[in-house]
Amino acid sequence: MEKVATDIFKIGDKELSSRLFIGTGKYASKEIVPKVLEASSSQVITLAIRRIDWKNPQENMLNYIPKGMTLLPNTSGARNAEEAVRIARLARAAGCGDWIKIEVIQDQRYLLPDNYETLTATEILVKEGFIVLPYMSPDLGTARRLKDVGAAAVMPLGSPIGSNRGIQTKELVRILIEEIDLPIIVDAGIGRPSEAAEALEMGAAAVLVNTAIATANNPVTMASAFRLAVESGRLAFLAGPGSRQQAAEASSPLTGFLREAE
C-alpha cells in the first residue's frame, strides 16, 4: 500500500490525496452532508450560488461543510461566458477561495456544456488569478485550448448530468487522458462506484460525484463505496492492467501428467 500513501496530485497550489470530488446538491436533508463528506474522505466539495430564500434566510450550504475542505463553487445557471465570469467573481468575493468550476449550459434537456463559452470564461478567469476547472464536452481540440489558456484541470462529462448512466463518452475521455497533460476529472453521469473505478483505471486523475451518492437509499454508505472504488481504480491504474486478447490463455501450463502436450 506504499504507493497510495505517496500518491498525491496537484491542482493549482493544492496537493490532494483524495481523488473523489463531491457535489452537495440534491440531498433530501442537508444534515446528512457532513456525514457523507466524512465517509467519502473527499477534500474538494462543489456548491452553487443562488438567490437567498426569504422563507429560510439563515440556510446556507457553507454551514454543512467542515473547515479545511477546498471549496469548488460552480457557475451553474450561467448561459454564457459573461454570466460565468460574474458568478465566479461573486464566489470569490464571498471568501470561498480562488477555485471555480466553469459550467456554461444553454441546452436544457441534456444540460450539455457550451465548450466555446466555457473556453472564453476560462481564459478571462485564469487572467484574474482563478484556479479554473472547466466542465466540458470531451473534445480534444477544446481541451488543448483550455490547457493553452491556463485551465488547472479539464472536466469532461461521462454522460448527461444526473443521468447515472456512466461513462458513455469513454473513448473520447480516454483520448483526453492520453493527449492532455492536465488532470482529467470525469464529471457528470457517474452513477455507480464501478464506473468511478473504471474512470480511475483508465487514468483519470479524479471523478466528481453528486447525484449517485445524494440519491442513493443510504448516501453515507454509498459515499464509502465510492471512496473504496476510487482508491481501487487508482491502485489498478498504478499497477498497470495486463493486456487483453481474444482467445484464452491458461493460467497454468496445459502440459502435464494426463497426456502429452499437443
Binding site: 440534491k26 442537508k30 462543489t46 456548491l47 450560488i49 437567498i52 434566510p57 446556507n60 460552480n74
Partner: protein, 67 residues
C-alpha cells in the same frame, strides 16, 4: 423609495444601511453575497452603503450544487 431586490420591487419607508437591512432580514452577514447595482459589494462596505431609490440588489448565498 423603491428598490429592486432579487428582481422584485420593495418599498422602503426610511433610510437604511445595507448592513442594517440585511440584519433585519435575519440573514447572517457572513453568509450572504451582495451585488449592488451590478457591482460586487464587499461586506466591509455594507455599513456605509445606504439604500436609495432605484437601487438594484442581488442577495445571494451558497446552496448545494454539483453533478
Amino acid at each position: 423609495m423603491l428598490v429592486q431586490i432579487n428582481g422584485k420591487p420593495l418599498e422602503l419607508s426610511n433610510e437604511v444601511s445595507l448592513l442594517a437591512w440585511i440584519e433585519e432580514q435575519k440573514i447572517p452577514p457572513g453568509t450572504a453575497i451582495i451585488e449592488y447595482n451590478g457591482e460586487i459589494l464587499p461586506q466591509d462596505r455594507w455599513k456605509a452603503t445606504f439604500l436609495k431609490d432605484g437601487d438594484q440588489l442581488e442577495v445571494l448565498k451558497f446552496v448545494g450544487g454539483g453533478r
